[in-house]
Homo-oligomer: 445 residues x 2
């Protein structure tokens, strides 16, 4: 099947490979996230990468996100790749509503795809790791999500971070507070959401373009700049400022309740704050919203975000289930950790390599590797091109393998092997039935 | 964001969801496979689901597999979803040829997509779990793959299975052995590959339609029916039968060498056999080929397959790297285990639920759940609609949660909790600082 034409092995833009030196620490990230999510009582779920397009867009002709369409032939219609794991969750709880106990607490890890412009920390394909509680309208459920975010990021050892909390109900109250038409509100929020990137000057300019008067913009500025020494003080000040908007008052009450819960859940006050500029782009949020900024790399954006979405499930039928959740952007977090030098690249997981330089002793090497594997020691026989012991040893050194075992014809005859501690550079000849324990001793020393 | 139109929550045909009762055992499967693969010294790799289409087809205009094309807009060209993890691996070793130490032993788990006709155990999206050795032409590398297949399936506890081994070089020698044009060989092999499904009558009929003479078909039948008491006897008989085909002789020698290696690697003789009808559909195989049949459910097809592909990497440049590997069809295996009742569905991973029926004690419940989680006990506060203790207890019973903790105002005041062993139906009141150990005692009893 020799090919005549050579194919360029490059990837399409916005996609990336993870080689072992990245995947080894990345997989540790996945394992850590999963263990925290399971500790919080979330159950695993898996759904397909391909969904019917209508599921994803909700049939909304103004759907703004760029999604990847797919089909077997060009022009096939109706299928697309999921852009998050939340919409598929809403579909699942509708489709299996009789089967799933409520509240349904699930976690899911999976690839999602978006037609984003490729830039640092943003890819067209990336892994999300989500936890959601479906079927609970309790504010303590929102607090559980914030606690989960805190415990996960702490377990990941990513340095200082801050969870920013806001409430969509407060933002929905802005139109009556500032005196503009509620129909403009989604557009206004989109501008406010850019505060981190374009500062207040940029935001106010956009608001003026959208037709807001200087007085209205001034009231919004007053809101954005509302300060306080503590969450409690901000809440008190907000209650005064927005006292005439019933919906905002409701949102402020929820903020208060979350703050109380976070105390009981032992979340340190310095790890979260109320940030009135947080809006979150996705349209489905209805109550508390969360995002997380790394203190040493705020520019990379939020690495763990979410909020309450009480109306999304009703898209798929009469049943409505109030829901809340959050999503870790694993690839963005990984990119951040790379940038902050918090990531330890690792060449290998192999603990022992058996050199393989004497064809007549290959069977003996296979017996040795089998005995190591029976004891769960990750091990391999050298299978490469180097025929000589020296070349094979260089491979083991380059790969930073901690133990090398040398077994040629002489050792086979004596039923022994040379076990070499590569860090201490000590080589010992041991009988066959002591090879495993000799390796274990080196690995635990 | 209330929707006016209700969207049907159904999946497209050929796709499936995995709810927690399936995902809990499925994830155990993944963990088991991964731990065996790592024990054999394979390193993790991840590549995108979306590749340039040319990468996948090799630019072959006769490419037979139905692949999912994708793009941001209808009519976008050039991107497609991967149909396996082997072709992307070949791309990776070409693209990063300077960076990757050879032999490159990697494992990868990921979704792949194929436009198959939906049927039992066959999906349009499924997970593969692959292990490959790139850059080794040693037959002992092929034997390592077979040993890995054996150890993985044994660890998965799937009952009896048989790994069928053949060699493409022997199959390539068939044209000279039976006296037909080598150009017909791929087509002949495709018919032989159907032996399990359509028996010899069906195969011979197809061969006649393809223009083979009765004498040629007779020689092929003689080959397919070649028998022997043991692998060694089959090999001896093959050497006689095909003595005039040098390529076949080479393949037979490799079979012999694999057989020797499998002895040294402690693979029981009853778990594998030589099966001359195994061809494997994919075009890229060049040497040993493997597939695995479950003894209690042969009809579901091969659950773990692979082989040697020495020319695939050269598709992407001058460099050529002889390679061998195999792939577990996790979803097919899962479907088989379901059918064979080998799968224990599990409702939950939650070990303790704290009932939450007294609003004034919710903060106290949060303190309890935090202390349990600090000890890595998967636990949750009840967050649902049931206001009364009784309704919440029914939830815990339906979800088969082993420990329930009851803490209302009275317990909060006394700083105690009722810890209930749900299996033994024993309830004990313990002080706050003994709750965790009381739960641990129940869980380990």
């Amino acid at each position: 099947m020799q090919q005549n034409k050579t194919i360029d092995p490059g990837l399409a833009g916005g996609f990336r490979d993870y080689l072992p030196e990245d995947m080894i620490p990345r997989q540790k990230m996945f394992d850590t996230i999963r263990s925290v999510f399971e500790c919080f009582g979330f159950l695993p779920l898996d759904t397909p990468g391909i969904e019917r397009e209508e599921i994803l867009t909700g049939g909304d002709p103004n759907f703004r996100m760029q999604i990847f369409k797919t089909g077997l032939r060009e022009g096939d219609e109706g299928l697309a790749l999921r852009f998050d794991l939340t919409v598929p969750l809403a579909r699942v709880v509708s489709l299996y509503s009789d089967k799933l106990e409520k509240p349904f607490k699930r976690y899911q890890m999976g690839k999602v795809w978006r037609g984003e412009k490729p830039q640092a920390g943003r890819f067209r394909e990336f892994i999300q790791f989500d936890a959601d509680i479906v079927g609970s309208n309790r504010v303590s459920a929102d607090a559980e999500i914030v606690a989960l975010m805190y415990e996960t990021l702490t377990a990941l050892n990513i340095g200082q971070f801050r969870i920013r909390i806001n409430n969509r109900k407060i933002l929905n109250g802005l139109s009556s507070f500032a005196g503009y038409d509620q129909a403009l509100n989604a557009d206004v929020l989109r501008s406010i959401d850019k505060l981190d990137k374009i500062r207040w000057e940029g935001v106010s300019e956009e608001l003026a373009q959208k037709g807001l008067t200087p007085v209205q913009i001034g009231k919004l500025e007053q809101f954005i700049n509302l300060k306080g020494e503590s969450a409690r003080e901000i809440i008190a000040n907000l209650l005064v400022l927005m006292s005439e908007s019933p919906e905002a008052i409701k949102g402020i009450g929820e903020l208060q309740e979350i703050a109380n819960c976070l105390d009981s859940l032992s979340i340190p006050a310095e790890c979260w704050n109320i940030d009135l500029s947080v809006a979150r782009g996705l349209g489905y949020y209805t109550g508390p919203v969360f995002e997380t900024i790394l203190s040493d790399l705020p520019s990379i954006g939020s690495v763990f975000s979410g909020g309450r979405y009480d109306d999304l499930v009703s898209r798929f039928g009469n049943q409505n289930l109030p829901s809340t959740g959050a999503s870790v952007g694993v690839d963005r977090l990984f990119a951040a950790m790379e940038k902050l030098s918090l990531l330890k690249k690792e060449k290998t997981i192999v603990k022992a390599t058996i050199l393989n330089f004497d064809k007549d002793a290959e069977d003996y090497c296979q017996m040795i590797v089998t005995s190591l594997r029976k004891k769960d020691i990750a091990s391999e026989i050298y299978l490469g091109k180097e025929a000589m012991l020296k070349g094979q040893l260089s491979y083991a050194i380059r790969q930073e393998i901690p133990v090398v075992i040398i077994a040629g014809g002489k050792e086979k005859e004596k039923k022994t092997a040379q076990v070499k501690d590569m860090r201490k550079r000590i080589q010992t000849e041991v009988p066959f039935d002591q090879i495993t324990s000799a390796v274990e001793t080196i690995l635990t020393s």
